[in-house]
Symmetry: C2
Subunit: 422 residues, 2 copies
């Protein structure tokens, strides 16, 4: 076997960067055997030269990006994150004819389609397996494994923090705040969990996957995003009684030349393939016209899983330098049209007998009620509940009903409605 050397300029040495250095060191021999490529990290851009970085050769460090970008490396690996200066680093590298590998989810969600076009124009490759779902090779599956399929739908559990919190709420019957504290204590949630629990992280990943799957550029507000802060322990309990679990699910569906992208909490039947994905794990379900439904699941984040994904791009590009193409499907509008589904509704009411007028309002809006229950408050808060599961109904009709219930003065707190997934 002819052994080739590959010089890598590494930008950033945070969690994933250190994971990459560790993994290249640990599995160097194996990678050479498998690919015939000898990997060498020749320079590493960092902000603070003096910070402690166990296992990283200090002589490779520099605080000057030009030293990495101009040093004659074969490939640039961008792991600094954020929009700038990461974007200009990538653009300079592509313009200079260098292959780029990145795990920068925020940047790709914002500008991925244009960066892919730029790489294509330069006949170099842009790898970004590490940007979505850590070690799960879902980008590769969409780009290569399912290349002969027309993708009809993809849905997934794309945020480990939300999934960890909802798993704890389901299995330990704790409320959102307590589950969040536990996630933070275990390192599965940030001190400021906004990006994760409000759904924005999952929405970014969904946009990257959907642009690849459907071969079209999507606008910045293409994804309808909801988080999980409003899910109460009561909702989890009610879902269980109805035979469901609540999960934060991102869904992209292609039909009638438009794409609908949703990201938020939904009820899944307990037998649904995504219902059994526990804790901080991620999973993606893809439906292609030839393969049918396919599930990929595993660890969606973490130093070594993400580094493994970055490394797979590095080796793949080193072995096969031909460019991947970007579909030229052009810009597609995201649909904000109505959808039909069963829904779970929870109303906080001053009087449980409100179940009567509430079901009347639903019927007036052509919403069939499959199951309904009025529950007396355990404490003397006076906050009783009405919980319902509807037959398949229009989402617009459900929203109209919520407005009608509010206008009728029946509520004594915020109402909640969640879609029941197919």
């Amino acid at each position: 076997m002819v052994m080739r050397k590959l010089k890598i300029g590494l930008l950033g040495c945070g969690t994933v960067g250190r994971g990459l250095v560790e993994l290249v060191g640990r599995n160097q021999g194996l990678i050479q055997q498998r690919s015939g490529v000898e990997l060498r990290i020749t320079q590493i851009l960092v902000r603070d030269l003096n910070k402690e970085r166990p296992g990283v050769d200090r002589t490779l460090l520099t605080a000057n990006p030009d030293k990495v970008l101009n040093n004659g490396c074969d490939m640039v690996v961008e792991l600094v994150g954020g929009i700038q200066p990461a974007k200009s680093f990538i653009e300079r590298s592509l313009a200079g004819g260098k292959h780029v590998v990145t795990a920068n989810k925020a940047l790709l969600a914002l500008d991925g389609f244009r960066l892919m076009k730029a790489a294509e124009a330069q006949k170099v490759r842009l790898g970004f397996e590490g940007s979505v779902c850590g070690g799960i090779p879902i980008i590769r599956a969409l780009r290569a494994g399912l290349v002969g399929n027309s993708i009809q739908k993809l849905s997934g559990i794309l945020n480990g923090t939300c999934n960890y919190i909802l798993t704890r709420m389901t299995e330990d019957r704790v409320d959102f705040e307590e589950a969040l504290r536990e996630a933070q204590a275990k390192g599965f949630a940030e001190a400021d969990p906004t990006l994760d629990v409000d759904g924005h992280d999952a929405a970014q990943k969904l946009k990257i996957l959907a642009e690849l799957a459907f071969g079209a550029e999507l606008g910045p507000d293409a994804v309808q995003v909801e988080g999980i802060r409003d899910i109460a322990a009561d909702d989890v309990e009610a879902a269980r009684e109805f035979g469901f679990v609540i999960k934060h699910v991102a869904t992209a569906e292609f039909s009638d030349d438009s794409v609908s992208l949703n990201c938020g909490p939904v009820l899944l039947a307990q037998s649904h393939q995504l219902a059994s994905i526990r804790d901080e794990n991620n999973a993606v379900l893809v439906r292609g016209d030839a393969v049918g439904e396919m599930l990929f699941s595993g660890k969606g984040a973490g130093s070594l899983p993400s580094a493994s994904a970055v490394l797979s791009d590095v080796v793949d590009i080193a072995c096969h330098k031909g460019g991947f193409s970007v579909s030229s499907g052009g810009q597609v509008d995201a649909a904000t049209r109505d959808c039909r589904s069963s829904f779970y509704l929870r109303f906080t009411v001053a009087d449980p007998s409100a179940i009567g007028p509430i079901t009347t309002i639903l019927e007036r809006n052509r919403i069939g009620v499959a199951r309904a229950a009025a529950l007396w408050a355990r404490s003397d808060s006076g906050k009783h509940q009405v919980r319902l599961l509807t037959h398949s109904s229009s989402k617009h009709a459900v929203e109209a009903s919520l407005r009608d219930v509010a206008a009728a003065g029946l509520e004594k707190g915020k109402s909640v409605f969640l879609r029941v997934a197919d």
Copy 2:
């Protein structure tokens, strides 16, 4: 985008071949958009020129292999199956500097490692995604997606026929014969189901996956194979009572420089990731040192899923002509060493009180009994049962105990023992 043309010589036009023709026709435009490659099937080898083949252009057919192999195509797709003449077709193509894509499981299990070496020596590529688990891109995951990982273990449900039969036995509480008849009626089992239900099909797939994952050639008898003919409705029922389901699972594990490969029915905890894989579906669990545990599941067979896998190789090779390497780990012996596990045992006995001497024999062989039950026969067959679940025990000790029970004349029928998976 520069559009390249790729001329494909197709050998064989059976189920998968016709699926390939259909899929290339249906998704041609999409594939061009995604890859910049225009696929053209230029000639098709068939045995019988006059057979009805809806959707296939008759002018492409030939019964003379030389016409395909010498016609100046860029790539040969081998879908004739079996060992010969498929092997010589592939060898001739590789020797002639042509890339080859095949879905020939039997041939790859027998000679895959040498064929990969031959392709490497010729600097051409040999794709075989279609040989294992239909549309699930598991070969690509092992070759590329997890290239930076040392693979520690892989296990999977690799045979759809076995899984369909066991699912029916579990969910509909029917016996093996009835489930097999249903599988045959639905096209999930052949008229002669031997290859599937006796485990040989799964064993071939396991060998292909293990050679890739561990980068070593394995001998022809490397896999210990068991089928599912001996599983009775009683065993499925007993497993359920103990909190398990019975699945036909193939497992490859690497430790202490040896590989152990097993393929047979095991008990899985109901919460196990493979326990929820139903009907004719396939699934593979891979454990890598960086990514942790990862699951891939989907349709493991069928015309379009397998054609999708073949097509992914065709496009990948067309885009990236560099060669994949074969690890040079050399030949590795398959371990036939003892293993420790919990076991499920079923004895058919003339007298239920045999539970006493049987547990005594087990204890003498240092096997701890976790649960035991003696069951009177429902009919007057006189065939009563003793069922046991052991604590973690040596497999050799269990086998010795079975011999001791037989020698003690306690049995009135064949005894069954199954491993309980971790």
